[in-house]
Amino acid sequence: MNYETVIGLEVHLQLSTKTKAFCGCSTAFGQRPNSQTCPVCLGFPGSLPVLNEEAFYYSIKVALALNCKIQDLIKFDRKNYYYPDLPKNFQISQYDMPLSYDGFVDITAKDKTRKRITVKRVHLEEDAGKLMHPAGESYSLVDYNRAGMPLLEIVTDPDLNSPYEAYDYLVRLKSILEYLKVSDCDMEKGSLRCDANISVRKAKEKVLGTKVELKNMNTFKGVRAALEYEAKRQVSCVKDGEKIVQETRLWDVERQVTVPMRSKEEAKDYRYFPEPDLVPFVVDKAIIDKARDSLPELPEARADRFRESYGLSEYDSNVLTGQVDIAEYFEKCAKLYNNPKTAANWVMGDIMAWLNEKNVSIMEMKMTAGSLADLLKMIDNGTLSGKMAKDVLSEAMETGKAPQDIVKDKGLSQISDEAQIEEVVKRVIALEAKTVIDYKAGKKAALAFLVGRVMKDTKGKANPSVVNAILIKNLGQ
């Protein structure tokens, strides 16, 4: 019997507005606890929320980029529940009328076909604070710096049918969000969070199985792993004739399993009702038009363009456009250097490997796109060998020094001067008489050895193809 997995995802995105969603407090990350608060975001009695226009505008941009419809009338609701990180004991959110709905993101399924995932709703709400539990103490502390930060909730329909698809959706969604520059999309800082709903059912079955909500995944890979684990767990439950319990489970990253969250005794009843402190308003069409006009070229469109204007493969275009900063870096370099395929190889190869290893973004890397172009030109004009160029690249990425300066400081310039090389070649031939005999006897490996000797004597600076040619010429004499 085959089983089908049904997954829906809920992404929370912190918008990188200058100030919070409903007050003027700063949204800067990592500040002293409770230093970025005011009576409004602390929910002090008598204080009132006022919608941050920038947060609204960012939300509209996201909605448009995800192909959503925009609600004519924008209204907020209160979601009531008690928790110490929630200063008012209600969250300003949107319930029956999310600011946008019915959009989509196209993903690539495992069989390489394109699949459209419906974005059911995108709504704006406020974030909560953070509880801190000092080790060994009987009390907890609350940091309200995060309370009131603008948060977008992006919810899909249960259209995803495998952890693979869920992962691809998240990667593509994040890519789009990064292009919009409305959030730093940093999962480590919590500015992008993902919860998942998953159920299984027998193939061809129409009715959905009982869903389980998964939380506490801190990376996209974690989401994929949690879904993989949970799908297996549910299928084996069903096979054993057990009932799936509708519950929230937490991903335990250490043990790579999902565990039930301490179940709440009662069903949640958030007692949503319209937020009376914020007057519903009709969206100004001009604002939507402005947001639409300001949308950047999005990843899919850019990948298409990279294929067409730079002649890159589909794979290369997708890799390069997946992250907006890398796409922009590549494109800057490609404008200064006439062989885009070579530039692409360097970006996707050594540079991306280095970024991964150092766990930094290309924005944080010190080497400019202009420097990369300069470096590639030095290979083309024979100043540097490929091997030398890699060394220069490492140093440039590390220090940001111009490749020309690195070459100069280290005296790295490649020797292409034939007379100079011939001198070394003659000396090597004189010293390695035995190898020369081998060569003449037809041993091909002997040539490689001699080239190596010449390279060693020139400290690797000789242009290898020139060395090759001169050796053959001299050995033939």
């Binding site: 009695p45 008598g46 009132l48 929320p49």
Partner: protein, 481 residues
């Protein structure tokens, strides 16, 4: 000059303008009055005495519209660093780190913040009896309630213990006590006055307004506190007229609507007589009287007691002992802290309304109660829209009865809720309405007349009220204390 406390603000301002009065003397006179009388009335929960150790600050600035005028602030309006408790134990010790917008405006005009006024706990009540500090007494009969919830504000104005006061009105909390204490109380149009710093009861109904000795002071004080506030999204961005210019002694050609649904069973005979007399008086002064119908009036109280508590249950959720004010210190864990803090911090009426509101918003009940109440609210608004097609203002009684005795209705919440039957519709519809004195019961208790206007029709209300007041002398009568 020895009875400054009995003057109105506009009379005092005239003297100050003529340099016939040192504004600082008003405060000391009023403070003496409070000292002598507030032990009986108990209108104040806090009296601001000037810091006598500070050196006198030389010549006072008299450029403000209320320079030196004592204004009493209801205890649900935030005053920076001053105890603001909503007469509730749960806000024990709470000192807001900011001023309400209305308080800022008063300071700008040179007003003296004389103290904080007692009220029903969180404005839940019509008698001032639910205060954690105990009831305020009606200056006209100390064994009677002053009305509520702005009972402290109204009683202090009636007892000359302040020149003016601010109240808040969610279902009649300014107008009903003004009526019962024989003073003038105005609930402005929803959105006319910023609510920033008003500790919310029901956000969609609450409005701050003046309680004063006469209509001119009401116009003066409204002019100071009204206006758009970027801190309050529900405040309306409309220019504030000079309301004192609307004080014209003339109602000729004005159409006054009298709703038949307001003169029914439950209306006290003396009240009906006085209100009908007032209508006759206005007719005699040239107004046209039009019979109107507000057919959904009978559902107003029910709708109000769903919408109000629903919003209140959410607004009051923040009082949980986590951040500020009262926290029960004996709790074992978080849930225990919530339960004990709220059980001990809130009084019975607050608990009743929180429970009621929570219930009405709960899943499975929302449509039957909350949503239905919103529909009633729309109908009531439509009633008024229609009525204002044939009249300029509407006149009704403010309260169905004069002041009742302390304790008389405290065991009868439904009976108490009906005290607001005539005032609630204006809140549901967001309309402005004033209560002005229009006579006395046979027992000598003040009776009030309510005048409702169109949205932002405060000027027409003032004109009508002023004309009536200037042709009668009910507002000049003062209780014997």
């Amino acid at each position: 000059m020895d009875k400054l406390h009995s003057y109105t603000a506009h009379a005092l301002m005239k003297m100050i303008d003529k340099e016939a009065l040192d504004p600082s003397t008003i405060r000391s006179d009023v403070l003496d009055r409070i000292e002598r009388l507030d032990g009986k009335i108990k209108a104040f929960v806090l009296v601001n005495r000037p810091d006598t150790s500070a050196p006198a600050s030389g010549k006072q600035d008299t450029s403000g519209r209320l320079s030196g005028i004592p204004v009493l602030i209801k205890d649900n309006i935030c005053v920076k660093d001053e105890y603001t408790t909503c007469s509730s134990r749960i806000l024990e010790g709470f000192r807001p780190p900011y001023d309400a917008t209305v308080v800022k405006k008063l300071r700008c005009e040179g007003a003296v913040l004389i103290g904080k006024a007692n009220m029903d706990e969180f404005a839940f009540g019509s008698s001032c009896e639910t205060s954690c500090y105990g009831p305020t007494r009606n200056p006209w009969a100390l064994d009677r309630i002053p009305g509520g919830s702005s009972g402290g504000s109204a009683a202090a104005v009636a007892g000359d213990c302040t020149i003016m006061a601010l109240g808040s009105d969610t279902g009649g909390s300014i107008r009903q006590p003004a009526s019962l204490c024989g003073v003038v109380g105005l609930k402005p149009t929803y959105g006319r006055v910023s609510r920033y710093g008003l500790i919310a009861f029901a956000s969609s109904l609450d409005q701050i307004g003046p309680i004063t000795k006469d209509v001119e002071d009401s116009a003066l004080l409204l002019g100071v506190i009204a206006g758009h506030d970027e801190m309050d999204s529900t405040s309306v961005d409309m220019p504030v007229p000079d309301y004192t210019k609307a004080l014209v002694k003339d109602v000729k050609g004005l159409s006054i609507g009298v709703p038949k649904e307001y003169f029914v069973k439950g209306l006290d005979k003396d009240v009906e007589e006085c209100v009908r007399g007032a209508i006759e008086k206005l007719k005699g002064l040239g107004a046209r009287i039009v019979g109107i119908s507000l057919p959904h009036t009978e559902y107003a109280v029910s709708a109000y007691y769903i919408i109000g508590p629903a919003e209140a249950s959410s607004n009051l959720a923040r009082f949980d002992g986590v951040q500020y004010a009262f926290r029960d210190r004996d709790s074992r864990d978080l849930i225990d802290m919530y339960i004990k803090t709220r059980s001990k911090g809130f009084g019975n009426e607050a608990k009743r309304r929180i429970l009621l509101g929570t219930y009405c918003l709960s899943s499975g009940y929302y449509d039957a109660y909350y949503l239905k109440a919103l529909k009633v609210r729309t109908r009531i608004k439509e009633d008024f829209d229609k009525a204002f097609g044939s009249c300029d203002v509407i006149i009704t009684p403010t309260s169905p009865t004069p002041a009742f005795r302390i304790g008389e209705k405290s065991g009868d919440p439904l009976g108490m809720y009906l005290s607001d039957v005539y005032t609630i519709p204006a809140n549901l519809a967001g309309l402005p309405a004033i209560s002005i004195p229009c006579g006395f019961s046979k027992e000598g208790l003040p009776i009030g007349l309510q005048i409702l206007g169109r949205h932002f029709g405060e000027e027409t209300i003032f004109r009508t009220a002023y004309t009536f007041e200037q042709n009668t002398d009910f507002h000049r009568k003062r209780p014997a204390l």
